[in-house]
Symmetry: C2
């Protein structure tokens, strides 16, 4: 029989519940409006502002926590993508799945770009980036991806093109329905070794 | 013989001189440190903070003004680039010159990305973007650039890859010496029509 919880463990469990409620509420509010205020988030979470600031001293800390959790959730999804076989087909599948996440968290990304210090967004993408890097390395070894540019540059190119697509959608210049296809066509062309033909778009 | 300046025109000339001094100082300070404060900028400009805030009510207003002037200066330089002849060679020249500007104003770009609302940086790039757009359109007509993706997407890709390079340098993952070459190789590959070979890097 488990020991009766002490006052301390109860308080700890309460704190964890309220942190979870705040991060849930922040995810919801920031996904609707990247400029959502902490008061609005506290209201949706059903906690007071003092409680919110007790856990997250600044709006930046809260946005960071929301972004960390979004990335972790995304990582679970991306871990399911089949990255075996033809590196180009694998890259198309990875872009498709990654794009769904970027698109879903598009408004959150705007909030993060506004609030977090430069470099932090890329830093938080370390795990998804590493997956991309491994696939690019395999494609290079198999002669399918170019080797005249460094792997880190190719990883950065995929990141820039994908986040650029989010900006294009936010600016009303791109429909979300086309994004995955355009990103894939662009990235696969950019990764093609000089002298080799650019692959056609697979629909 | 010009009329003797009245009190009003003298005051206006004084104001213009102090605005120019503030924008010069802000360009200098923000190029060294994207987080430079308005007090620091006022000091370098040799004006009081009250004068600075009289002309630029917020740090954001000042950064916007600095960015507008940087773009205008850049436009003068880009207007000199020869965009005739082979669209790929013309695009290489345009990327080379554009990159020099992005690299020179790299720290300013960080300040702008932190301070300005989303979309404003792209909005301020309207003129350079239009030049890129015209060249891409010509390349599409001549069958050198792909037509299976919209021109606006290709313009956005060049913008994303170029600004991504600035981020890579800031993060210490890329040497400024290589950037123009990498951007050119990536953009020309991304613009190549499906089925056509990716051009080799011209050194």
């Amino acid at each position: 029989m488990p020991a009766k919880p002490t006052g301390t463990t109860t308080r700890r469990a309460d704190a964890q519940r309220s942190i979870a409620a705040i991060v849930d509420a922040a995810t919801e509010c920031l996904s609707r409006d990247p400029a959502a205020s902490t008061s609005e988030i506290a209201k949706v979470a059903g906690v007071g502002r003092v409680t919110l600031y007790g856990h997250f001293p600044s709006r930046t800390d809260l946005i960071d926590a929301v972004f960390v959790r979004a990335i972790e959730g995304g990582e679970a999804a991306l871990g399911q993508v089949d990255l075996t076989g033809d590196p180009r087909a694998a890259m198309s599948r990875l872009i498709e799945s990654s794009w769904h996440l970027v698109d879903r968290f598009r408004s959150l990304l705007v909030a993060a770009q506004d609030a977090l210090p430069p470099g932090r967004i890329r830093e938080l993408h370390a795990d998804p980036m590493e997956r991309v890097e491994r696939l690019i390395e395999r494609g290079r070894k198999e002669g399918v991806f170019r080797t005249d540019l460094p792997t880190s540059w190719l990883v950065g190119t995929m990141h820039s093109v994908m986040h650029g697509a989010a900006d294009e959608i936010n600016a009303g210049r791109l429909s979300p329905d086309h994004a995955a296809e355009y990103i894939t066509a662009t990235v696969l062309a950019a990764f093609t070794p000089p002298g080799e033909p650019v692959p056609g778009v697979q629909r």
